[in-house]
Symmetry: C2
Subunit: 436 residues, 2 copies
């Protein structure tokens, strides 16, 4: 890849009005050409491609009419029972996430409903016996931004006030978090995607994980909602981020009740038919169980067993993740390569270079994100809505755009990145021209 | 089967004290014999037997690595999407329950979580825009009794006051229901198992279904929770109960928003890996969707597709239900045969003769149910706890016991019915002796 320093690029802000107008004229021509092609691209959601789903198709050979469906602990997985999931599924998640199986509950498809239910339960019944949140005047959540829109949608739905916390390359602003958590009893939680964060792709540093584990919350019902959605979702085998195990750190502070960790196989096996897990202290899980026993007789145990029999162990999962990486990495590379080539040095935006996960985060000039998204849409390309990465869909700078390169084909991704760059350039010039 | 009128039986109440003591002595001997055998029987839950689960084992041959997982509407069921379930799964439930597919949402394993979520949603957010129940001073539910313990557990958990409504052979006391529903705005719902009721096995008559459909609730957020758990669960091919379609009746009164119907394949395919559905008006389902879109990205669509490809249509389901009946009917018959032989005419209890479902309901002498259950337990047989069939686990008469004959083998069932009869006799004699 060309380095910016090797190239002859003049920042748009340094150009004269005439220079800008000339550049813009060329850009508009290219844009109209693309528009004329009538393309249709969707980069709005972190959705696996069909090629990725094909990776685990042999999973459907695992069971047949002669299969023995008895679990290792002697349970007939076809029948009722095992409210908290089968033993071997707990063990698989435990091995993957380096925790103990006794700290795991396994659920059905997707971790989102597990997170939703956790908030819903706290709202209706409190946390480990605390006052139900619906009886409190005010409940607040901290939200590192940019973040995951579906997290924010849950807390917004339950009328929880969300407070933006800046997210840096090594994790969120811990000083600010510490202040809120340790001084304000209304602060009941923080949403975190600690590894390959949605949408920035950044991973929390060891220091930040340690700081989380050492928090002394004012509220007894404060919890860290540690959505470890991309725990094994590396793009490059020789260049991975490592996330410190927060439970190990919590133990050092006798602080194990402070965190709920969430995970799922949605982007390991099938987004439409995976299994999910929560990892938490035994005390926290007792509270889960107390409520779950009213809510359900049990989640789909056959699919749990299918996953375990298929993968056998964590190594089996990691092997498959390499196949995902082989498909995903070139797509991420194509976007970055295009941005480096088209945008670097122009002073009109920055972007992340994730080593895993599902997203690239683009930070445009202040006040231009909505216009860029609109411009892309006009030419047939859907990105995640501008603002979606912030609570209440309000990006105070109107600058962040989430790019999801997983679903389209590599050729489509290349086309999309070109179009996106074009739109960023045109909108940025228009913005700069306002002050020329 | 012998008819009571043909047999020489003297009611216990008509015996002298000496006669009773003599009978009791014999019974105690038999009881001690059974106890000595060290049996272990569980008739506590409506759980399919392994033999029943075997019926659908060929379901696991339906998919393999070469399967085309694209749904009829072109959706890749392996991926995200289809929040409300795949089209063909909606159509299968629609055909089975004689409703339109547009009125169906399909979920994951079990209908219990669907019912729980419906109550939880009403508690947190109201019903179609009404005041959330957690903001109201008082919320009440009507509970036909005896009924399903897990229904009552949900409403109890949400602090909803439960009111007992007598359940007769043809359905609950509609006059009482009408009075409560039409006069008390705090009454927000009623739990119903309208066909092969849990635990009595009774089916609501056409007149009662019509009366339900014609209710004019005082509360706009009142709903009938129509748990049609045993819609196709007949025991005898030539002697079935027919339940009137409540939606057809509701239409006549322009009253389609009044009911949520719930169903699942838990006792059709696998209790550990089925699919569930809610059936409701489009307006009601809009409210479901509004909340579901925050809660989940979608339920397991592969399992939905597996069910549809396996059964093909409602006829495919009905065929399999006949196989269930062939296993279940002899177990029900064995219990009834034993009760007829051992208990009829003694004046110490009555029992239902269900034509479908999963339970037989036994009504013992007032104040003896707990003692009977205890006596059974002492000899190694677990039944559903006395009182479980009533809200707050409080049977005002302490007389109802739910018997679940599905799980044990036929021989075990016979043994269990004998032991149960023995315990009923002993406890009843002790009760009668108190007044001799």
């Amino acid at each position: 890849m060309k380095k910016w320093s090797d190239r002859k690029v003049k920042a748009y802000a340094d150009m004269t009005k005439d220079e800008l107008l000339a550049v813009k004229e060329d850009l508009i021509k290219s844009y109209e050409d693309v528009k004329g092609k009538g393309i249709s691209l969707n980069m709005s959601r972190g959705k696996p491609s069909p090629e990725q789903l094909d990776i685990v198709m042999d999973m459907f050979d695992v069971f047949n009419r002669n299969t023995d469906f008895i679990s290792e602990s002697g349970v007939d997985t076809r029948n009722y029972g095992e409210l908290t999931g089968i033993k071997e599924a707990k063990e698989l998640f435990a091995e993957l996430l380096d925790v103990e199986a006794k700290n795991v509950i396994v659920f059905g498809n997707g971790s989102l409903p597990v997170m939703y239910d956790t908030i819903s339960r706290s709202y209706s019944f409190g946390v480990n016996g605390s006052t139900p949140w619906n009886k409190l005047d005010k409940v607040k959540f901290l939200c590192p931004v940019p973040g995951y829109d579906r997290h924010f949608a849950i807390t917004e739905t339950f009328g929880i006030e969300m407070i933006n916390i800046p997210l840096y390359e090594d994790g969120p602003d811990m000083e600010l978090i510490k202040k809120y958590v340790e001084e304000d009893e209304a602060v009941k939680g923080i949403w975190c995607v600690p590894k390959y964060s949605n949408p920035t792709g950044s991973t929390y540093s060891d220091e930040k994980v340690k700081a989380f584990a050492a928090l002394k919350p004012k509220a007894c019902d404060f919890r860290i909602y540690w959505d470890n959605a991309y725990a094994v979702h590396d793009l490059y085998e020789d260049d991975k981020d490592e996330l410190l195990n927060i439970f190990d750190e919590c133990k050092k502070h006798n602080n194990e009740d402070i965190v709920y960790e969430f995970a799922s196989t949605s982007k390991i096996t099938l987004a439409g038919a995976g299994i999910a897990a929560v990892i938490a202290s035994e005390k926290n899980l007792e509270w889960y169980k107390k409520n779950m026993t009213i809510q359900t007789i049990g989640y789909d145990k056959i699919n749990m067993l299918r996953h375990v029999r298929y993968f056998k162990n964590a190594e089996g999962v990691r092997k498959k993740m390499k196949e995902h990486a082989r498909i995903l990495a070139p797509k991420f590379d194509a976007v970055i390569e295009c941005f480096d080539r088209e945008l670097e040095g122009l002073g009109i935006g920055s972007y992340t270079r994730p080593k895993g996960g599902y997203f690239i985060s683009f930070t445009a000039m202040k006040g231009t994100a909505k216009k860029i998204v609109e411009k892309c849409k006009e030419a047939g390309m859907i990105t995640t809505g501008a603002g979606a990465t912030f609570p209440y869909k309000k990006d105070p700078d109107d600058s962040n755009i989430r790019i999801a390169p997983s679903f389209p084909t590599l050729n489509e991704i290349k086309e999309a990145a070109e179009l996106f760059s074009l739109c960023v350039k045109i909108v940025s010039i228009e913005e700069i021209l306002k002050n020329k």
